[in-house]
């Protein structure tokens, strides 16, 4: 069953179209990655799904039922970990989690267990009585997560939860998310970190300018782009003519030589490693080291959304952190 089902969603801010006939389906139990450059409409889409924002057109169904601002029964089953750390600076870690949890769970004793569980889950056991100002960036992010998941929601939106977090905390967060999914939750995950998304998301959607531009599993996405494998050859010296010859190979998309390394991006298809080495041999270049790697999600992302810098123009995406 589809947990999230968004059809033909349109959201405008004046002349700016933030969401342009946006469609999204998330199935139960999956970790769905929502990627896109800054200002592409990710947070707007999430806020519309949560009924925090009105929208101009389209339908949003959660758990198979139409979502609306007064659907508290549905809201009770949803958790959100916002991009900005949204906690009360005057309350301690424990109090913060309980305060937010109390918006979902009225029963005090049950809440106590839930809060304890959430604290254990994010590993803030030693910091229960700390106020947010005293927490480091990684701990603060973990608190931000705990506040969103303590009521054990079935559907959780993670909006760039790992911004400014060290690798250890990030790993803890990611494996935590997987644990939540194992426990039965469905996750919608947005991030700028491609390797994270590649690591945990089953299905991924790339958004740009308010629309879905690509959707599929990691493998499917990689198959959609022009680049196949990337070949790196370490050589002591490379004559200009040899580089040109590599560039003239039919499968070569691009080739460059920098820092004693020859980088060749090849088109999709079978491996072109042999052909490249053959050309090099013909110029008398002996490779020191050779390796070939498949395209990364980063390549997919950049190829689909283009290389130009974003972050200008209006959008709902505020810079991460504070």
């Amino acid at each position: 069953m589809a947990i999230v089902s968004v059809r033909q969603l349109v959201k405008r801010y004046g002349d700016l179209v933030a969401l342009d006939h946006f469609d999204l389906t998330v199935e139960r139990g999956e970790v769905f990655g929502l990627l896109g450059p800054n200002g592409c409409g990710k947070t707007t889409a999430i806020n519309c799904m949560l009924s925090l924002l009105t929208y101009d057109k389209g339908t949003i169904e959660l758990f198979g039922e139409p979502m609306g601002p007064a659907r508290y029964d549905l809201k009770r089953r949803i958790g959100i970990v916002p991009q900005q750390v949204a906690v009360f600076n005057e309350l301690t870690v424990e109090e913060n989690i309980d305060a937010f949890c109390s918006l979902y769970v009225a029963d005090r004793t049950r809440r106590r267990t839930l809060v304890d569980r959430a604290i254990a889950f994010v590993g803030l056991g030693d910091f229960r009585r700390f106020r947010p100002q005293k927490l480091s960036g990684g701990l603060l992010r973990r608190l931000n997560i705990a506040c969103g998941i303590a009521h054990e929601p079935e559907l959780i939106f993670f909006d760039e939860p790992t911004v400014a977090v060290d690798p250890q905390s990030r790993n803890a967060i990611l494996s935590g998310i997987l644990a939540l999914v194992d426990a039965g939750a469905t996750v919608v995950y947005t991030s700028h970190y491609m390797e994270e998304v590649e690591q945990i998301c089953g299905r991924i959607m790339i958004m740009d300018r308010g629309r879905a531009v690509a959707e599929g599993t990691v493998g499917e996405l990689k198959g959609m782009i022009g680049i196949g494998e990337k070949i790196v050859v370490e050589v002591t010296d490379l004559p200009e003519a040899a580089l040109d010859a590599v560039r003239y190979l039919p499968a070569t998309v691009s080739a460059s030589y920098r820092g004693r390394e020859l980088h060749v991006a090849c088109a999709q298809g079978e491996s072109h490693l042999a052909a490249v080495l053959e050309v090099l041999a013909s110029f008398g270049v002996a490779p020191v080291r050779v390796y070939s790697e498949p395209p990364t999600l980063n390549d997919v992302f950049l190829e689909i959304t283009g290389n130009e810098l974003r972050d200008h123009g209006a959008g709902d995406e505020r810079p991460a952190g504070r």
Binding site: I80, F88, A99
Partner: protein
């Protein structure tokens, strides 16, 4: 909802700003008022004026006047009575002038060679009340002499009679025509209590920052926490109610704490009707919440601007309540007499008014009407806040 109220209260009480400005500040100010007026109150009714006299032959010769002044300076009848005058002798006019100029005495009396009295005052404080009191005493003495002379001209025969002359002199300096102080108020008025009451008015406005902050923290897009809360499964109306109840409780506590401090430490009696103060404080706390909600709901206003608005409102509205000293009290009086509507709509003034009527007036009607005015102001602001909030619901970013 109870949990929300609890956490709202908890985080507000942990905010340093709130604790300083809404709880500590009124108490600090009350303490300052107390020390400030401690000296003043004691020397108000029992006030001694420092009069210098040039003790030359003129002084020695003016027997009547000298006796009068000496009696005022050294009253024989009541030992515990504080004398009206304290006499300081000077050898000559130059010494007296120096004394007056240096502020050692309020004024000095010189009787010249012709027997004419002169009162010397310093240019820096000419026209003080104390000088006028001395002047009135001397005037009265001189007028008595003048009157005796006039009478003698009018009826020379009667004036030749020594007994009649003595009777006239006695009557002129006597105290048969007296005044009785009416006590129209339930207790003696004091400028001091008005300052304290104005302080409650200040609290009422200043505390609106509590409601403003709490409401902002439950509203979408006003704060990150607010957006997050609105995702929760508790309806916005109930969250708003939780914020309002929490702010009302805090403001009420802050005001009652101030009242208790005034009552217990500063000795302000509230006219023996301290049991009615919670009614006024309750109404004030409502205004405070409504004002906070109103400022919080103002569209397109940033947090810093809201803070500034509340600070400005606090200063601007407390001034006509008479918080900033005697000049402010005069402005308050002028406004009450000439622009009653402006005063009626000013919650700080109505808060002060409520306490004042409670303390001083026999009838409780003025108190009730001040509380009524407070409730009306709260209703007005609350309605305004609601209109703004309805317009903004769900629109963010």
């Amino acid at each position: 909802m109870l949990t929300q109220i609890y956490y709202n209260i908890r985080m507000t009480l942990r905010s340093t700003g709130v604790v300083i400005w809404c709880f500590a500040f009124p108490l600090i100010m009350a303490t300052i008022f107390m020390t400030m007026f401690a000296g003043m109150q004691s020397n108000q009714s029992t006030h001694t004026i420092k009069l210098g006299v040039v003790e030359d032959t003129g002084w020695q010769d003016a027997t009547g006047l000298r006796t009068l002044l000496e009696e005022l300076a050294y009253p024989s009848d009541a030992e515990d009575e504080v004398p009206l005058l304290a006499l300081t002798g000077y050898a000559d006019r130059a010494a007296a002038e120096a004394g007056v100029r240096a502020g050692a005495v309020d004024t000095a009396l010189v009787i010249d060679a012709n027997g004419t009295e002169h009162l010397l005052v310093a240019p820096s404080d000419a026209g003080s009340t104390d000088q006028a009191i001395v002047q009135t005493i001397l005037d009265r003495y001189l007028q008595g002499e003048e009157l005796a002379g006039a009478l003698a001209k009018h009826d020379p025969a009667a004036r030749a009679n020594a007994e009649a002359r003595a009777a006239l002199a006695e009557n002129l300096s006597g105290e048969q025509a007296a005044t009785a102080e009416l006590s129209v108020l339930r207790e003696p008025p004091s400028e001091l209590s008005r300052f304290y009451y104005a302080l409650l008015g200040y609290s009422c406005i200043m505390c609106s920052t509590i409601a403003q902050t709490l409401i902002d923290r439950t509203r979408i897009a006003a704060t990150p926490e607010g957006s997050r809360r609105q995702v929760g499964a508790l309806s916005p109306a109930r969250q708003l109610a939780a914020a309002l109840v929490a702010s009302w409780l805090i403001v009420m506590t802050s005001m009652m704490l101030a009242v208790a401090y005034f009552y217990v430490v500063a000795g302000i009696s509230f006219g023996g009707r301290v049991w009615l103060t919670p009614v006024a404080c309750g109404a004030c706390a409502l205004v405070s919440c409504a004002l906070g909600a109103f400022v919080g709901a103002l569209p397109g206003t940033q947090a810093g601007v809201k803070d500034a608005l509340i600070t400005i409102a606090t200063l601007a509205l407390s001034l006509p309540a008479g918080l900033f000293g005697t000049p402010a009290l005069e402005v308050a009086n002028w406004l009450s007499q000439h622009m009653p509507l402006a005063q009626l709509l000013n919650p700080a003034v109505q808060a002060t008014e409520a306490m004042l009527s409670l303390t001083f007036y026999d009838s409780l009607a003025p108190f009730a009407s001040a509380c009524g005015a407070l409730l009306a102001i709260a209703a007005l602001l609350g309605a305004g806040a609601l209109i703004f909030m309805r317009r903004q619901r769900y629109v963010c970013a």
